[in-house]
């Protein structure tokens, strides 16, 4: 599903070169869920962005569903992203100009894969039925994140990438959102890579890896 092989990434900073990833090898199979932990600044988000094709590694290669990202140009990477990937961010990144239902099906429509039934189902599962006409700023934080998760899953991605999806939520909402996320992932049988710094959040996932000094350390829960 997702394969990272000897991935290196270095950022230029005013203080000089800052190596963030130092030869990462990682494989994620269909239906598998993986928590990626690490301290702030350890490179978790960088790794996630590389996996999403939002950024390119300095060395090594990444492939999704057998396709090497480095062999794809920008439009092709974008197509891959909208058809096969779902992204969930800490900041939700909902589109403020669109209402709930339009946000929910945005990616699916962009990928020309809208499935009205699935969308309706998702809406109900997300607890947003009856709020189709609301705009994002009219929702609570938990509702917004649920909507963001729904938007990512509406396209039935094969890989869901989540970056601290509960980081902006209070504990109770976080639990609800996380539970929902895992249920839906199970339902769609997609693979999940989730970045988090919370062991509590990481606990229910199949595998856990830690990022430390640019390398992965396997640690099974």
């Amino acid at each position: 599903m997702l394969v990272l092989h000897q991935v290196h990434k270095t950022f230029s900073t005013p203080q000089g070169e800052l190596p963030v990833l130092n030869g990462i090898d990682l494989t994620l199979d269909q239906g598998e869920s993986l928590a990626l932990m690490g301290e702030s600044g350890s490179g978790k988000s960088t790794l996630l962005h590389l996996a999403a094709g939002l950024d390119v590694p300095d060395q090594g290669h990444i492939s999704i569903e057998g396709q090497r990202l480095s062999s794809l140009d920008e439009p092709a990477r974008a197509r891959l992203r909208r058809q096969h990937l779902g992204l969930v961010f800490q900041q939700f990144h909902l589109v403020p100009s669109l209402n709930v239902i339009d946000n929910l099906r945005l990616q699916a429509r962009l990928a020309q894969r809208e499935d009205a039934e699935w969308t309706a189902h998702l809406l109900a599962r997300l607890g947003l039925a009856g709020r189709e006409g609301y705009f994002p700023e009219q929702l609570s934080g938990g509702q917004q994140q649920r909507l963001a998760i729904g938007r990512a899953l509406a396209v039935r991605p094969s890989l869901l990438l989540a970056d601290e999806p509960t980081g902006n939520l209070d504990e109770q909402s976080a639990d609800t959102v996380l539970a929902l996320l895992l249920e839906l992932v199970a339902e769609t049988r997609c693979a999940l890579l989730m970045v988090t710094h919370s062991a509590r959040v990481a606990a229910p996932l199949d595998r856990l890896v830690r990022l430390h000094l640019g390398r992965l350390e396997d640690s099974h829960p």
Partner: protein
């Protein structure tokens, strides 16, 4: 405390220097255009005041009926007969490109208070050798002298004339040298002759035998004539000011919105509301003074660029001389500063209002913005309706006013129309976007683009309103100018019926006429004549009015060459009947006179002819572009014989093979005229067209600048929200929309909005054109133009709208293209 509060508020701009730049930019352009036009106006006013203070203005003038030059003997004879005439000698000295007017006066007899003011020693210095040259400091440049070395200097002019010692007189018009008539006579080598005999206005009830009297009233003061012209300029400047203030308002609104949290925190920390408002006021004041200073500096520069064209226009159109260097009295500085600060305060009043009503407890403003904006749109529609009602009322009222009046009301109408349309624009755009959103439901990206445009509308609407106003005025003015050009060139063609013209002194032309008629190669001579007459009464449908007013007379020769082409606007019974009536003793009047006196063909005039008061029927009204005064046309022969007019020029029709050069030489040899006395019709057309082009240079320049300001407003608005937009686009990118598409999206969005604005601007521009040609021009220049529409101009307007929008959107888009969306994503909600 207020200082601390102010520092806290200003810290915002350190993080958002773009907003500060936008604010200052708005103030700068608003104040720059306004102050440049005011500088031009102030300079012109100063010139008029100086010209009026000069002896030759506001006096009646005597000339000899026999066309001979006036001499000292005329002067002495009239003086000894008790007539209070004063001798004057006027000539020109050419210094390089510049013609200096040299005026010799006799201060002892000069009518009343044209006063130069002074003491006995000064008078003696003025009257006795080596005499004295009085001149304005501005004239020194031409003589190559500095202000310091000027007093007492006796510069050589062209190595031929040595001027009497210079003395500075700041109240004189530029390019004018004033000296005693004795000194002027020596410089001009004029001996015994004079160019003018002047008297105080109305000092003579009738001219003495053998003399002709031109009343000061016929020589209307430049100030009156040019009033409307300056009003036009002021209106344009006001427009730029308003457009600039749109930018300011947008910048202030944005800064305010982003600082609401800061304001609430400050209130929560115990800062009283009044202190907060004072601090904001103080902030506005700081920006205002800074912006006004920038604006003044560039306004003065701009005025310096515009002034030469304005001066040329005023001099060719109204014979009003305006100096070519700026004069900026203290009230100019104060006025410009006050206007800038006043405008800023107006633009900032919304911000102050919000600060005053700030709710300390409100947590976020976002919850209600959508409903809030709906409310705002409703209020805009209501305001638009109110403005439309005012516009309607004004136009109805204008319809009942006699033509040529209501300049202020016309500007009021245009202002109300512009304001109303601008207020209607955002609700209209909003409605169109809603509709589109429904239609594009199936196309997610287009759907998103429309929805996103709607979201941006609150921020963009001010800039769009400014764009609408600029576009509409541009279209209005360019249609007016274009229509005028068509009309004018056509008119010129008709009016210049003869292929050749001779201009010379009347005393030369009269004998020349007989000689020309005897020449075999000349097939037709078409003399024109000039004179003036006292109008005693007018009798029209409006009733009979008695008056006593000096009106210019113009004589034309009604031969077929002329009558087949000469333009007429309105006749009693058709063209041929009108020409027959003219030959039979009726008169034509120009449009300016018809408008001013509300006369139409069929009405009658009573004129004070040498044979006594006589009634004349008006047979036709003719267009007379470029003439600021009222005029009556009679046949040349009648003008010379019945009104004591003199031949002004001769139009010639020659045979095919006639040698122009030979004719010219013959005229020079035989009548001692200048070689350029014989002019080709084409040459006259060329000159007239040139003057015409100059007339509208400043209008076009200001208009173009206004459009530029509107583009800046749009650009500044886009730039101010660029960061937030990038975040929006970045999340789309994360969802898998390619960057290429993302970069183009804003261009489509903005181009679409601008196109919509452009479409609205078209009818508005046409309405403005109509107001200009049918009302404002009639009042300003005395002529009405047909309403012409130019599809090409309309197309250009739409193109401009889209172009301006794309240009404004290009930089933010480029920025998006250059920056990594991932970085945008990372910045998150920062």
């Amino acid at each position: 405390m207020i200082w601390r509060v102010l520092v806290t508020l200003l810290a915002h701009y350190r993080r958002h220097p773009g907003q500060l730049a936008m604010l200052l930019l708005g103030l700068w352009v608003a104040s720059a255009l306004w102050s440049s036009v005011q500088a031009v106006n102030a300079t012109a006013k100063d010139s008029y005041a100086r010209a009026n203070a000069l002896f030759s203005a506001e006096v009646d003038q005597l000339t000899r009926r026999d066309g001979q030059p006036l001499t000292r003997e005329d002067y002495l004879t009239l003086r000894r007969a008790g007539l209070p005439v004063s001798p004057m000698l006027e000539g020109t000295l050419e210094v390089g490109e510049v013609r200096l007017t040299l005026i010799g006066i006799d201060p002892l007899t000069l009518p009343n208070d044209n006063a130069l003011g002074g003491d006995g020693a000064a008078l003696t210095a003025f009257l006795t050798p080596p005499w004295q040259t009085q001149l304005a400091p501005e004239t020194l440049d031409i003589l190559g002298l500095s202000r310091r070395e000027a007093p007492g200097a006796t510069p050589d002019v062209n190595g031929r004339h040595q001027l009497p010692p210079l003395a500075l007189r700041p109240d004189l018009p530029p390019d004018t040298l004033v000296m005693d008539i004795a000194a002027a006579a020596e410089l001009l080598e004029s001996g015994n002759t004079l160019t003018q005999l002047v008297t105080a206005p109305e000092a003579l009830s009738a001219p003495p035998d053998g003399y002709r009297l031109s009343r000061a009233a016929t020589l209307a003061s430049p100030e009156q004539l040019t009033d409307s012209f300056h009003l036009n300029l002021t209106a344009l400047a006001l427009l730029s000011l308003v457009v600039g203030l749109f930018i300011v308002q947008a910048a202030l609104g944005l800064a305010m919105e982003q600082r609401l949290t800061t304001l609430r925190t400050l209130r929560a920390l115990g800062v009283p509301a009044t202190t907060l408002i004072l601090a904001i006021l103080l902030e506005l004041l700081v920006f205002g003074v800074l912006g006004a200073a920038l604006g003044l500096a560039s306004g003065i520069w701009l005025a310096g660029q515009l002034l030469p064209d304005v001066a040329t226009t005023l001099s060719s159109l109204y014979q009003a001389d305006v100096q070519r260097s700026l004069v900026l009295p203290w009230h100019y500085w104060l006025g410009s500063l006050a206007i800038t600060l006043g405008g800023l305060l107006l633009a900032g009043s919304g911000v102050l209002w919000r600060a005053a009503r700030l709710n300390v407890l409100a947590l976020g403003q976002s919850q209600a913005w959508r409903r809030g904006y709906q409310r705002q749109l409703t209020r805009m529609s209501q305001g638009g309706v109110a403005a439309a009602v005012i516009a309607l009322g004004l136009v109805l009222w204008l319809g009942r006013l006699p033509p040529g009046q209501g300049v202020m009301a016309s500007f009021g109408f245009v202002a109300a129309l512009l304001l109303g349309s601008a207020l209607f624009l955002p609700p209209l755009i909003n409605a169109v976007l809603r509709l589109l959103q429904r239609l594009l439901h199936r196309r997610p990206l287009a759907h998103w683009a429309v929805a996103d445009s709607q979201l941006q509308l609150p921020r963009l609407s001010l800039a769009m309103m400014a764009l609408l106003i600029a576009l509409a005025t541009n279209l209005g003015v360019s249609s007016m100018v274009g229509g005028f050009r068509l009309t004018f060139l056509d008119w010129l063609d008709q009016r210049l019926a003869a292929p050749l013209y001779i201009n010379a002194e009347s005393s030369t032309l009269a004998p020349m006429l007989d000689w020309l008629e005897a020449q075999p190669e000349i097939t037709e001579t078409l003399p024109t004549a000039r004179g003036d007459v006292d109008l005693l009464a007018v009798d029209s449908k409006g009733g009979e009015d008695t008056t006593r007013e000096r009106i210019a007379l113009f004589g034309i020769t009604p031969s077929p060459t002329i009558t087949n082409r000469w333009p007429l606007l309105d006749t009693q019974e058709g063209r041929s009947a009108a020409w027959a009536a003219l030959s039979a003793g009726s008169v034509f009047i120009n449009e300016q006179m018809a408008v001013a006196k509300q006369l139409a063909p069929g009405d009658t005039l009573t004129l004070d002819t040498p044979q006594g008061a006589t009634r004349f029927t008006i047979a036709a009204v003719y267009p007379d572009y470029g003439n600021p005064r009222q005029q009556i046309v009679v046949p040349t022969e009648a003008l010379v014989q019945r009104f004591g007019g003199e031949i002004a020029s001769i139009g010639l029709v020659a045979t095919e093979g006639a040698e122009r050069q030979a004719l010219r030489q013959a005229l020079v040899d035989r009548f001692d005229v200048a070689p350029d006395a014989l002019v080709d019709q084409q040459e006259i057309k060329r000159l007239a067209t040139q003057i015409f082009e100059r007339t509208f240079t400043i209008t076009r320049a200001l208009n173009g600048l206004t459009l530029g300001v509107a583009a800046l407003a749009l650009f500044a608005t886009l730039l101010a929200q660029a960061r937030e937009r990038q975040r929006q686009l970045a999340s789309l990118w994360a969802l898998g929309v390619p960057r290429n598409t993302l970069t183009q999206l804003p261009l489509y969005q903005l181009g679409g909005l601008a196109l919509l604005t452009g479409v609205v601007a078209i009818p508005l521009g046409i309405a403005i054109t109509w107001t200009l040609v049918a009302i404002i021009n009639v009042a300003a220049f005395g002529w009405r133009l047909p309403l012409y529409l130019f599809p090409w101009d309309i197309f250009i307007t739409l193109l401009t709208a889209v172009g301006v929008a794309l240009a404004a959107a290009a930089l933010p888009s480029l920025q998006l293209w250059r920056s990594s969306p991932q970085a945008m994503l990372n910045k998150g909600a920062a």
